[in-house]
């Protein structure tokens, strides 16, 4: 047993990204309280974006060649963790940009917003590098607590408060399930450490108690990533929360939850694929079907995007359910391609303001192709990308999870995914029909530079231009999975 001080000295350089985020959050609160006035909002937001980008870059730069176990095995710095941190950091930075710009325009300049986003991101960083059950839980809770507050951000607004409360109560149940499941796993394997659990499980120990615990934990994580049937909070919270917060929820936390689930499944419980495969397949199938059917009748853009994210999580889970190396690789790449499209869509929704309020319903987009041809073109590309229609990037993601599923002989799941994608296409088409085929509604305000830039970048990333970067993403994701699992 090495001494705590030696361990800390050894671990410290590997924690630079986390330390940067935590340091920013603490100093931000301190100076924010000291400074006063409206100017601090802009300043802290800019610094927050810088801290997030910095953390992402640091994570990439400090990527080790082999997994490094730090803090006495509580955390691990490895390929998948770094891949996830990069995605999370950039997604959080983009959504923070959108949010800061939006709140700046609406006059709700409360400086805690960037700090909460950064703290939530810190929680996600901990989630994706957790290597024991306690760290896992701490990461999840740090992320969730920030998320509750963000959901209720517009505290005078009944919807926003409702969203925050609903999210809190339901999420607390999920956290309870997570802890309950973790306690079962601990009780039946005798350890909270993933490697000990892995060795017990691979020797066939633990028995039904471990399975019970794992299933409970999967339910809780399914809740966090809004996989059906644990999705019921998603539409309400998406609708009630302020749109930039919704954009944040739709992007970074999904990555964290998926990667955490992948780590849990492929590290400690890798030997139990026969058992958890069934559960993940069921989650995937139900999410794809329910997400695509549920979206058909929605008229609110944010509810629609909520169902869209449920469907997309179903596809990610299809990748995870497939096992092998290709399964997690396809899930990671799917996420990497899905994120820019989602952020771009929310960016464009935010940019379509009428009297200061962002577009809320499908009808608000009517005739966009006539009034703002460029925004319409970008949105069209992004929606087709999320729908998985070639030649856009989202298609590549769908192709990869489908081939992972077919390789694993999960033909029924692949065919179900194909059918669900058609149903899902129907509601994206409804949006597009509103954009292209309807008569223009009242004119929209011009988007601000930051929003337009973020949306355009996202659209370009989901365009076939990404084609040239695909080989790079593929190599990165494969190397990450090989190193980690």
């Amino acid at each position: 047993m090495i001494s705590p001080m030696t361990d800390l000295a050894y671990s410290w350089p590997h924690l630079f990204p986390e330390v940067l985020l935590a340091g920013f959050a603490l100093l931000g609160v301190f100076f924010g309280a000291l400074m006063g006035g409206d100017r601090r909002f802009g300043l802290i937001s800019i610094l927050g974006v810088a801290a997030l980008v910095g953390a992402g870059v640091l994570a990439i730069v400090h990527q080790p060649l082999a997994p490094v176990h730090i803090l006495q095995g509580a955390m691990v710095i490895d390929g998948v963790g770094v891949f996830a941190k990069a995605l999370i950091a950039f997604a959080a930075a983009a959504t923070l940009t959108l949010g800061a710009d939006h709140f700046n325009n609406t006059g709700e300049r409360r400086f805690e917003f960037p700090i909460l986003v950064v703290l939530a991101t810190l929680g996600m960083f901990v989630m994706v590098s957790a290597r024991d059950l306690i760290t896992l839980y701490v990461g999840v809770e740090l992320q969730s607590l920030c998320a509750y507050i963000l959901a209720a951000w517009r505290r005078d607004d009944a919807y926003s408060s409702e969203a925050g409360l609903k999210y809190f109560v339901l999420s607390a149940i999920a956290s309870g399930l997570l802890l309950f499941g973790a306690s079962f796993v601990y009780g039946f394997t005798g350890s909270i450490h993933f490697d000990v659990i892995a060795s017990v499980v691979s020797e066939g120990g633990g028995g039904v108690g471990v399975i019970f615990g794992l299933v409970l934990m999967l339910c809780a994580l399914g809740f966090k990533m809004s996989a059906a049937p644990f999705h019921m909070w998603t539409p309400d919270v998406y609708e009630g929360a302020p749109t930039p917060v919704t954009a944040f929820f739709a992007a970074a936390p999904k990555v964290a939850a998926v990667v955490l689930m992948a780590r849990l499944l492929y590290e400690p419980f890798a030997a139990m694929i026969g058992q958890w495969g069934q559960v993940v397949m069921a989650l995937s199938a139900i999410s794809m079907v329910w997400g695509s059917l549920g979206a058909l009748l929605q008229t609110n853009l944010k509810r629609l995007m909520a169902y869209s994210s449920i469907t997309n999580m179903g596809f990610v889970l299809m990748g995870l359910a497939s096992g092998g190396e290709q399964g997690p690789v396809s899930a990671l790449i799917y996420l990497a391609l899905y994120l820019p499209a989602t952020i771009g869509i929310f960016g464009l929704i935010l940019s379509m303001r009428r009297e200061g309020l962002p577009a809320e319903t499908v009808q608000d987009l009517a005739g966009l192709a006539k009034t703002r041809a460029w925004a319409a073109a970008l949105l069209t590309m992004l929606l087709f990308s999320v729908a998985g229609i070639p030649p856009f990037a989202g298609f590549i993601g769908k192709l990869l999870v489908l081939s992972a599923a077919v390789d694993a002989a999960l033909y029924w799941l692949a065919i179900l995914g194909g059918v669900a994608a058609v149903v899902a296409a129907a509601y994206y088409l409804r949006l597009l029909a509103s954009i292209w085929f309807s008569a223009p509604a009242a004119p929209l305000q011009r988007p601000s530079g930051a929003v337009a830039l973020t949306a355009a970048t996202a659209a370009i990333l989901s365009f076939p231009v990404l084609v040239f970067a695909l080989g790079f993403i593929e190599r990165w994701a494969e190397a990450a999975v090989r190193m980690s699992f």
């Binding site: 192709a369 006539k370 041809a373 460029w374 069209t380 087709f384 229609i389 070639p390 030649p391 298609f395 590549i396 192709l399 990869l400 489908l402 081939s403 077919v406 390789d407 033909y411 692949a414 065919i415 194909g418 059918v419 994608a421 058609v422 296409a425 129907a426 088409l429 597009l432 029909a433 292209w436 085929f437 084609v467 695909l470 080989g471 993403i473 593929e474």
Partner: protein, 503 residues
């Protein structure tokens, strides 16, 4: 000449030339203060020039193409990711369809001159559509093929939905979702064959199918999945119901492209994938395809006879004519396959021309109702003559391009099953019935509708639009061997693969 072109990525240039034109139009749109009549004129001109340049480029490629060589030519191969490569290459079958595409697109642009709503968006979409259509026939990687194949839905969806008729939104949705469902089933099958054969290159997959072969039971499922996509695209009875809606609602030029080129992707798919890769399953399902083809020919002809809308009538006649194509393809002999390829090309020209004929009177009168018209020959003699030629081509009169394809597919089918050929022959008679009736009602007689009193004959632009089509119809009808010689090599390759013989 071919030495001079050595080393150039000819097919990529050909494929992406229209896309470059689309970027040109978008850049012009971004720089101009807004849409106005002068700007619109410029955009139309740019688009016409780009599509003509593409046609010229395709002729250059055609000139350098060696049609006696059955292998893929002008091959480009750039590795990409996930084992997928950017592989391009054409054989004579693909080359002939590419030339059909590039030949028709400038004519479509000319026919779209009267579009005055969101002109730049329309032209951009049309150019992107052309890129995707050419790409389908060039792609030598099955995933790349799928990218182009499926990507074509997007511009078509918007073209129908924005510039279409009164039920355009319904038609656009139906078109998109129908086709997508078929295609996604095919995608699962594509993923499965890549996983089994370990390659996504079409030539390698074909070679694998010839040497090792896909498991016979699995072939049945794979064949059905591909069939789901191509049968919808073709369209075969009973999954054709999207076609009349899409055709009727689409703007003229989109109808032309839909009938002339997008439908051919189904036939091309059968020839490129179903027959060579799943020969056992193709043999197994031949009776079913024959039955569906005959039903399509007879039934669609009967339905066409009852139509009140000119476009719908032509749409159903397309379903019938595509029945000949599937029948020819699955007869699996030289006559059948050659006839099917010829019929695809001929139908591309004739049905395209017929939709343009409808467009001419629709532009003037804004209705497609058959009962509205009558006696057009009195006011529009030139139009009536041209319409006559294409109607007769549609019927399959010897001397027009409609004849060789129909007769050869029937000869091909006769060798396999005489009853099928007999059923198809019945369809030929019925096609004369509906097409000539349509012509009689629209063109002959005296003008009874007072609104037609002022209708004018073809103007200069329309002359230019129709002249190449008239020439193509007559040349292909009088000298069909030009086409047959050209497509011989790849037809032989398909027949050999189907029969299980090594070449």
């Amino acid at each position: 000449m071919s030495e001079m072109l050595e080393g150039w990525p000819l097919l990529s240039i050909l494929t992406f030339l229209p896309a470059a034109g689309a970027i040109w139009v978008m850049a012009a749109r971004a720089m101009s203060p807004g849409e106005n009549p002068g700007f619109d004129r410029g955009v139309r001109l740019i688009t016409l020039i780009v599509t003509l340049a593409t046609f010229a480029a395709s002729l250059v490629v055609l000139a350098a193409f060696d049609h006696e060589n059955p292998d893929y030519q002008f091959v480009e191969n750039v590795p990409w990711a996930f084992g997928i490569a950017y592989r391009m290459g054409v054989d004579s079958m693909a080359m002939s369809l590419i030339v059909l595409t590039t030949f028709l697109t400038p004519l479509c642009i000319l026919a779209s001159w009267s579009i005055d709503k969101q002109v730049s968006s329309y032209m951009v979409l049309f150019l992107i559509l052309e890129t995707l259509m050419i790409g389908v026939f060039c792609a030598q990687d099955i995933i790349l093929f799928y990218l182009f194949f499926e990507g074509g839905l997007i511009p078509m969806f918007i073209l129908i939905g924005v510039w279409g008729g009164s039920r355009r939104v319904y038609a656009a949705f139906k078109f998109f979702l129908y086709t997508l469902l078929g295609s996604l089933l095919m995608l699962v099958a594509i993923v499965a064959i890549i996983s089994i054969a370990g390659t996504s290159s079409i030539p390698e997959l074909t070679a694998y199918a010839r040497q090792t072969g896909f498991d016979a039971d699995l072939q049945i499922w794979l064949w059905l999945a591909f069939f789901a996509s191509f049968a919808v695209k073709m369209p075969m009875w009973p999954v054709h119901t999207w076609l009349p809606d899409a055709h009727v609602e689409a703007p003229t030029a989109a109808s032309v492209v839909l009938a002339a080129i997008l439908l051919k992707m189904g036939g091309y798919g059968f020839l490129r994938f179903s027959l060579p890769m799943f020969p056992d399953a193709s043999h197994f399902f031949t009776p079913m395809v024959f039955a569906l083809s005959v039903v399509a020919i007879v039934w669609a002809s009967l339905v066409a006879f009852r139509q009140l809308d000119i476009k719908k009538l032509i749409a159903y006649s397309s379903v019938a004519h595509m029945g000949f194509v599937t029948m020819g393809i699955f007869s699996g002999n030289m006559q059948g396959v050659q006839g099917a390829i010829f019929q695809m090309l001929s139908h591309g020209v004739i049905s395209g021309a017929l939709f343009l004929c409808v467009g001419v009177v629709y532009d003037r009168m804004h209705t497609r109702e058959i009962a509205f018209y009558g006696g057009l020959v009195n006011r529009m003699p030139v139009y009536a003559a041209i319409f006559m030629l294409f109607t007769l081509g549609n019927v399959g009169l010897p001397g027009t391009s409609g004849f060789p394809g129909e007769i050869l597919t029937m000869v091909g089918a006769f060798q396999v099953n005489a009853w099928v050929a007999a059923g198809a022959a019945l369809g030929v008679i019925l096609s004369a019935a509906y097409a000539l009736t349509l012509y009689r009602k629209v063109a002959f007689g005296v003008i009874e509708n007072p609104k037609l009193a002022g209708i004018t004959d073809l103007d200069g632009r329309e002359w230019i639009t129709f002249a190449p089509l008239v020439i193509a119809t007559l040349v292909m009808g009088l000298a069909p061997s030009l086409v047959f010689d050209f497509t011989h090599a790849s037809a032989e390759a398909v027949v050999n693969a189907f029969a299980g013989n090594a070449p």
